[in-house]
Amino acid sequence: MKIELTTMTIQSAHEALVRGDFTSRALTEAVLEVIAAKNPEINAFAEVFDDALAQADAADARLARGERAPLLGIPLAIKDNMLFIGHKASSGSKILEGYVSPYTSTAVERLLKAGAIIVGRTNMDEFAMGSSSETCAYGVVKNPLDVSRVPGGSSGGSAAAVAMDSVLGSLGSDTGGSIRQPAALCGIVGLKPTYGAVSRYGLMAMGSSLDQIGPFARTVDDVEALFSVIAGKDPLDGTSIEDEDKPYVLPKHSYRIGVPESFVNMEGVDDDVRERFSSMIEMLKNAGHTIVPIEMPTLPLALAIYYILMPAEVSSNLARFDGVRFGLRKEGAKLLDTYMQTRGEGFGAEVRRRILLGTYVLSAGYYDAYYNKAVLVRRKLTDEFKAILKDVDLIATPTSPSPAFKIGEKTADPLKMYLEDIFTVSANITGVPGISVPNGTVVRDGKDLPVGIQFMADHFHEPYLFGIGKDVERLSK
């Protein structure tokens, strides 16, 4: 049977594998062929693992024994900041060139146990700092839908890998929008789970109070299947939450959807992106959901809070890269010279900028005005979310203010790049889950480019996100 990857989902591949239409080896070989053909241009993958087919053979053996599981034999990719023992991981940075994972991250371990094939690691903005995958030390990732444009970031390689019809799903990490924004720009589904839903053991830390691992796939069903495998308490990550501490949540037939109108209508959002958003909201209303206009005065400040807290956490998390225990070492006459040279040469411009910014907001004299103030405003925003989410089930916004932009268009002006995350950061600041689902296209330079719609819900209310996401998929058809 011919393997048609352009329309295949995890669900349809699973059914075909169970029926015996093809083997996991044949499926994985088809994926490897696509990567060989397309990756030289797209650069989604940093590396294809040489044991991919061996993993597929092991999955075929499990299938032959009658084992059945949704991810058994399914080829996936992981972002380059997740550890997989014996395989390289570089976080898109020169400072980690040649680094080999000494153990396996819990999220990847869970995929492997479920029988998934980890085909390779995907390119990303260096240490996940960026919204375009242009700060990657191993080359820019291109958007498979228009190679003159970015795939979004920082998990741009993981999004592009799915969008270029190779793997059927992938993992990314989301600190301020790094799963949802590339999902929107590449026309696929991306989920940032609740803070504490997925273990971060073996994920290279960026902003520890913000980071979450989450899945990409073509459909909401597939994202849900991936999430259910990677989610759960892990004794090795103290921030992961015990199952008995989570609410038991079932999807509903109709939702109360809050729309923060003045926020969505602010300057800087493309008109046609806003129109796509409004027209989906109208369709959801006609489909039986209740639309509630809401006001969240602190919401527009989420990005300002983020650009204080995140660099502060970055500056301490990245202190470990010192040329002594792992990675690059540029030896100087004295230890201090070694530190300065290793970090000066090993880190790219955006990483250096954020470490310095973080050092500034944490330094004596500025700590109260920036870091401490941001902590308080974060609590205010979190209370605002809590209050609103007592009244509505979901908060809806566009995922990003514009579709995929041209490579190089925003690299000169960091603030312009940072605004890409204006709609997504608040979920990280408050810890709530968020999903981006494709919501039609807009035209740029004669090309149809996808845009996404984002929904956020209360902590551990992912089932609401999957429920509304499937409605959006149905209405988009």
Partner: protein
Amino acid sequence: MKLQPEDIEHLALLSRIQVSQDEQVALAEKIDAVLGYVGEIAKVDTSAYQHAEAGAHRNILRADVPTGTPGESRERILDNAPKREGDFVRVQQMFE
């Protein structure tokens, strides 16, 4: 107050990152722009919130017992060190 290249030089030393003089000028401008943007939060009324509340944060500890990490992890950790000597990571002299 505008950031000066000397301020960047100081931050770079605190951050242990070598930054060239040209880059100091560029960084001063770009970090200044970001600080101008994030400075907006100063206007937010947070009088209802106090610091130093432990809130939901607490220490999460587990027993100090082996977790079943594969034995090869130790060897791999040592192999990742830029300078290894037997079962040790070789470091530079710290005290003079």
